[in-house]
Amino acid sequence: MADVNITVDGKKVTAPAGTLLIEACKSAGIEVPSFCYYPNLSLQGACRMCLVKVEKMPKLQTACTTVIGEGMIVSTDTPEIHQARKGMVELLLGNHPLDCPVCDAGGECELQDMTFSYGAAESKYIDAKNHKEEQQWSPVVFFDRPRCILCYRCVRVCGEGMDVWALGVQNRGVSSIIAPNQDDHLDCEECGMCIDICPVGALTSGAYRYKTRPWEMKHVGTTCTHCADGCKTTLGVRRSDTGMEIVRGDNRDKSGINGDFLCIKGRYAFDFAHHEDRLTQPLIRKDGRLTPATWEEAFELIGKRFREICDQVGGHAIGVFGSNRTTNEENYLLQKFARVVLETNNIDHHRTADFPALAAALTGKPEITASMRDVFNAPAILLIGNDPTEQHPLLAWQIRNNVRLHRARLYVINSQPIKLRRQAASFIQIPEGSEGKLAAFLAGEDAAIDAITTEEVSRAAWITLRDKLRGEPNLVVVFGAEIRGADIASVAKLTASIQGAKVVCLGDYANSRGAADMGLYPDLLPGYHRVADTGKFHEEWATVPRAPGLTLPEMVEGAKAGSLKALYVVGANPVEQFTIDPFSFSNSFVVVQDMFLTETAVIADVVLPAANAYEKSGTFTNTCGDLQLVKKAGEVTGTKSDFEMIVRIAGAMGFDVRRLVPFGRGVGTDMGQSRGAQSGEADRHAVWLEANGLEPKMSSFDPMAILDEIQRLVPGYDVSRMNILAGNDQHTTLSSSGPGALHDSKLIMPAQDNLFSSGTLGRYSRTLNSVIENRHKQPAETEVAAD
């Protein structure tokens, strides 16, 4: 669009036609205050805080609803404007309880800021304030009515942003109040967006309220540990008796791929860290019982047993099972441990999507993987299978808001009437299990049409749809785990045939894509290279076994037959998730690293208490392939990161850990003065060194040493280290990956999590459990709260 020139406070500002005055001012660094205006939500014009003077217009104008026009001359801060805003604040404070000293929002409250800016401390009102008791609308949402300033942000974000429409405004004028959809409580997705967006403390979080003050916390921006979308969540941490306690999760930073969004898990489900069942010391089975032991004892025992088995039978008698929630560095290190230390390819993980088949379909071709950001900006989206609203909340948010804000065309094809059909330009229901045939048909295989033609959807309708999709340049194709194996090639073919089109494969759990990329497969090395063709891994690692190892079912069979002598499980619960007979491993030496005594941990001979992803550093790769930094926020005394434990076990086996973790490399340099005139130099050097992966890795427990190796050896991971360290997402690619593989589709088992569950981890979150319990309760028979 053409640019428009305006003058704001004597400054020349140029912005595209159609820009709102408040945004144009912001782009010039001039802040116009507002309560009701919120970017990307519909305009309200309710709070009258953004009043500005536009020359030749008779009265003050609301900058949030005024579109800029050529030659406009605007003043944003004159005595008249100041007085108007002060008047507004005074009215808002008329019935405001001014309970800032106990209010959760105190210290980060927009009304507080405005009161300080415009100084309406004295009121002309002498009437008694209209007090109402605080209401609990759900386990996580509390409403304090007198604090509300009726900006309607919560109503709009819930309806427009989330498509939940659980909040509304009852009554009129001074008696207007925000009301939940079920008389006195909410029936909603419990995302907590309304709490984050509330400019005051009217909506507060059940998990955080009255716990601490914003300035008493340290705020750490890290990547969420739940689903595979990779939202950035800001964790507020505070010192506690047992380390650092995470008190709050929210999204104040908004620089992540999720922008404004966080779901219930990202916002509230960090409380598993302080669950009473959390393990904080190693356990060793003595006389049949798991007994507390020291770390030294535990490592020594594991090292000795693993060494014995390797020496007497060989590494092929040990199975290793990795995790979808550990960092890339840990996954990489674990498979390297298996292959280099144990000298076996017996390594597997809980596969939730067929990433090797995706790599097989995309390698050697032009890059067509989409990032999570592309889903928000694409002009059209085709969604096959999955239910993103439940399983990929961020993806659903991106799709929904792309449709709303950019009028993207959404095509949904699913065996179930999923919620996203409400945004779809076209929704087609197909028989369950016919997703593969659908992909084949869309890719041009006409014979496949029979399997998807039903009474409701005729052949002609399918052909029309296919033609329409072919005419959608820059389409983003998103598909769920319903499509596996060779069918993925059809999706890739369809995508490649459309100009500018890109593809997303949906897996579950925070780092399932990372686990796949890092080679937690018995037949694939990192970057989907086949084990028979070790190439540069052979050069770096010296010894790599070339025969494919055992998959999990084969490990179970091996254990039953007595050929698998040991099982090493890191951050996973296969016994429960694959319903394995726990007695299968009765004669094997089982080592489990986990936070809790899971179904798998109870059968172990040694259990090592692990730190979770909020308690360590590294990187995660989301399901789209976006690489992001994981930063340490919390800490629980008595636990260790999986990274450290793997290295310690290798060390205890008598292995030279320098061959496992390439630490001690980098530059040995005088880091400069820390005081005096040149003091800043050291910091600047450090930033540069770190950005280039050259900072000295002082110990074998430094995940960055392994990130160096990942960036060197895993195709597609040679992204900007500077951006990763700065907390930005960097898209990895698959076009230069190894050849991948077509695995047995039965090995893939989607997690089937919903909004309120999160695998084994979710069971230990009180918040998630309380929300689930609350939803089963019958709605209370009470008078309308919104009186």
Binding site: W165, A166, L167, G168, V169, Q170, N171, R172, A179, P180, N181, A786
Partner: protein
Amino acid sequence: MKFSDQFEARFSDMLTHYPTKRSVLVPTLLYAQDEVGYLSPDVIHEIAQRLDLTELEVSNVISYYSMLTTKPRGKFNVQVCTNIACMLRGGEELLDHCKTKLGIGHKGTTPDGTFSLEEVECIGACSWAPAAQVNYDFHENLTVEKMDKVLDEYRKN
């Protein structure tokens, strides 16, 4: 929920008058209220479904308009105006008289369900103040005696 044929005819006609479905909400609510007497949860549910709205949105609109009610009213809804013209000519006395006579207050309903009483804003009958409205019928130039007659007349019906 079943409405009369007349309601259905009006409803389907109204749908053609507006660019979006939700726009017919207010008249639909008013017609439904005339037919059922008040906007019961069933009515709200039905209308929300027909117009693709949430029940919350429908009750938000109802709560905004004082003419719409979610509580049953008497057979005759006596609305006494107390805005400026009526007030100057005795509207408030009229309201007080109705309160005493009917033994109910603002927004109250007599135990036999015959009368409801409401103090309302201007009903547009200032030239004939003080005025009152009973359901959709106007009664003008009222005095306490005239009001008694009006109420007695309704009571007979």
